[in-house]
């Protein structure tokens, strides 16, 4: 018989170990990318156009391209996702139909990203005639992150205490006033958390933009939302699979990966700062 104390010790030990392994994996990735990528990172790398067949110069167009794609995706998906979440949790009569819609949204989250790419190609590029462009890619990425945003927003709305809604309604507020003045201000931090996750995903995805937005090389920076762009994840992919100078391309790919990681972390921290500002005001 092992004592209860020992059992507890072993139990917590396993949990602690699991956490450690995860942390270790995370740091290993960051370390690996950093060590291999840091060599090529310098000011020129971040601010200049590439030249000599991608083996020299900078990756500015890819950085900007990814940034534009993410902004476009968020501009499209955030309002739409938040609106859908408000409708689903606050207005819609809970029943079979809403359950089916929810299942549908959850399944959308499980669809492989390359399928979204094909969808974007068929619908945005061809049907709407947006061509290979920031707009097509941004919309495709937007649809990809919609389920994340909807689900996070719904959860954020559901944790707003029902008693706040009751208090507001009992004061003669309409449902809309209640949502706008009481529910949303208290849910917004959770909604931002959802979009943080979405941003990370949108910035890192390759497949959805493969057929809808990106090109391996452009001479010019994008000039409108109808321009095709370079993007960081695709740039890495292209450097590793195409071209004839792997010995110079591979370090550039690692450098690009490092930039991508930091870009995502950067966007995330902006959102985290905004979220914390909202969160400091809430105390229940």
């Amino acid at each position: 018989m092992i004592s209860r104390k020992l059992k507890e010790y072993i139990g917590f030990g396993i949990l602690r170990l699991a956490t450690l392994i995860i942390l270790l994996a995370l740091f290993a990735i960051l370390y690996f990318v950093a060590v291999n990528g840091i060599k090529v990172i310098n000011w020129q790398f971040l601010t200049q156009m590439p030249h000599s067949g991608m083996t020299a110069g900078g990756i500015l167009p890819a950085i900007l391209g990814t940034f534009y794609l993410v902004v476009c995706a968020i501009c499209f998906a955030l309002p739409l996702g938040v609106a859908a979440a408000i409708y689903l949790t606050e207005y819609a009569k809970q029943g079979k139909l809403i359950r089916i819609i929810r299942i549908g949204i959850n399944n959308l989250a499980g669809v492989p990203s390359v399928v979204f790419g094909l969808f974007g190609l068929a619908v945005f590029v061809k049907f709407f005639g947006f061509g290979i462009s920031i707009l097509s890619g941004g919309l495709t990425l937007g649809i990809l992150i919609l389920p994340t945003i909807i689900r996070a927003s719904e959860e954020a709305l559901l944790v707003v205490p029902q008693s706040f809604r009751e208090a507001s309604l009992a004061l003669g507020a309409t449902k809309w006033q209640t949502i706008r003045k009481v529910v949303l201000p208290n849910a917004i931090s959770g909604m931002l958390t959802g979009s943080i996750l979405g941003i990370g995903r949108a910035a890192g995805e390759t497949a959805p933009i493969l057929f809808t937005a990106v090109t391996f090389y452009t001479m010019r920076l994008p000039r409108s939302i109808f321009s095709e762009v370079q993007a960081l994840p695709y740039h890495i992919y292209a450097l590793m699979t195409e071209g004839t100078h792997p010995e110079t391309q591979i370090p550039v790919a690692y450098g690009t990966a490092l930039v991508l990681v930091f870009l995502v972390l950067g966007i995330d921290s902006i959102a985290i700062v905004i979220r914390n500002r909202f969160r400091r005001r809430k105390k229940w």
Partner: protein, 277 residues
């Protein structure tokens, strides 16, 4: 069908003193009937208490009076509740208007996560009041009255002295009893005619409870008050009329003195003497 409840003589003496008249009210949650054929007249400027064992439908009944049950899915209401002679469940009724006229204070104090001032001002703002410095959307008629009204409401709720120097602090910095009085001030700010209290003291200590009870006594000069309470001493102390509810049926409704000294029903006596409940 024999209507058991109507067999009681209504204790309200004159018809013109009736503010709310509940007639043949039946309520179901899904398929469970929780209120059965209740008839009740609420006299104005009086405190009417609703007592009864847990799960008897007290809260359901009181929440029906400002249609707060509308937000519960599967709740079904049949019958009439006349507010100054007009059925609040009628087809031509604006629920928002009903709730402006019938305010409510909840069991657990539920201030908004805003400042003390903003909590009281909330109901005023959504009803078109604007602060002195704010822009005037409705022609500025109500401009500047906001601060006055907030102050008056806090005074009416006996909270002004304690918070006047810190109106900008979060409502969550107040004690439990103060929070509940803030919720009362918030309800009073929009000048309702009736104020419903759903076990307002159940989460408070005796001192805070005494303050709220004292307050309710004062408020009846201006408002019609209905209070649900678990605490029979409380009902005896503060109410003028008392309704005893059990398993969704109104067992007895009379002047509070009568209920507590000479109840007509055996079961009422058993309950108030603590034989069950």
């Amino acid at each position: 069908m024999v209507d058991k409840v109507t067999s009681h003589q209504s204790p309200v003496t004159s018809k013109k003193d009736v503010r709310i008249s509940i007639r043949n009210l039946n309520i179901w949650y899904a398929n469970t009937q929780v209120i059965k054929n209740v008839r009740l007249d609420i006299e104005k400027n009086r405190v009417t208490a609703i007592i009864g064992p847990s799960g008897c439908g007290k809260s359901t009944l009181i929440r029906t009076i400002n249609r707060m049950n509308d937000i519960i899915p599967d709740a079904k209401v049949k019958g009439e509740i006349l507010l100054d002679g007009k059925n609040i469940y009628g087809d031509d009724i604006d629920v928002v208007e009903v709730r402006k006229r019938v305010g409510m204070v909840f069991q657990k104090s539920n201030p908004f996560p805003k400042s003390i001032f903003e909590n009281v001002a909330y109901g005023l703002k959504i009803n078109g009041f604007i602060s002195a410095g704010g822009r005037s959307a409705s022609g500025g008629k109500k401009k500047g009255q906001l601060m006055e009204r907030v102050e008056q409401s806090l005074k009416d709720a006996a909270l002004w002295k304690e918070v006047k120097d810190r109106l900008g602090d979060s409502a969550f910095d107040l004690s439990g009893g103060q929070q509940q009085r803030l919720c009362i001030a918030r309800a009073l700010a929009i000048e309702p005619e009736v104020v419903l209290f759903d076990e307002p003291c159940s989460a408070l200590d005796p001192t805070a409870t005494a303050k709220i009870e004292e307050l309710i006594q004062k408020l009846k000069k201006k408002y019609t008050i209905i209070i649900v309470t678990h605490n029979m001493q409380q009902a005896a102390r503060i109410s003028d009329f008392c309704a005893f509810l059990m398993l969704g049926e109104l067992i007895e409704f009379d002047k509070t003195d009568k209920i507590f000294t000479a109840p007509s029903e055996k079961v009422t006596e058993d309950y108030i003497t603590g034989r069950f409940g």
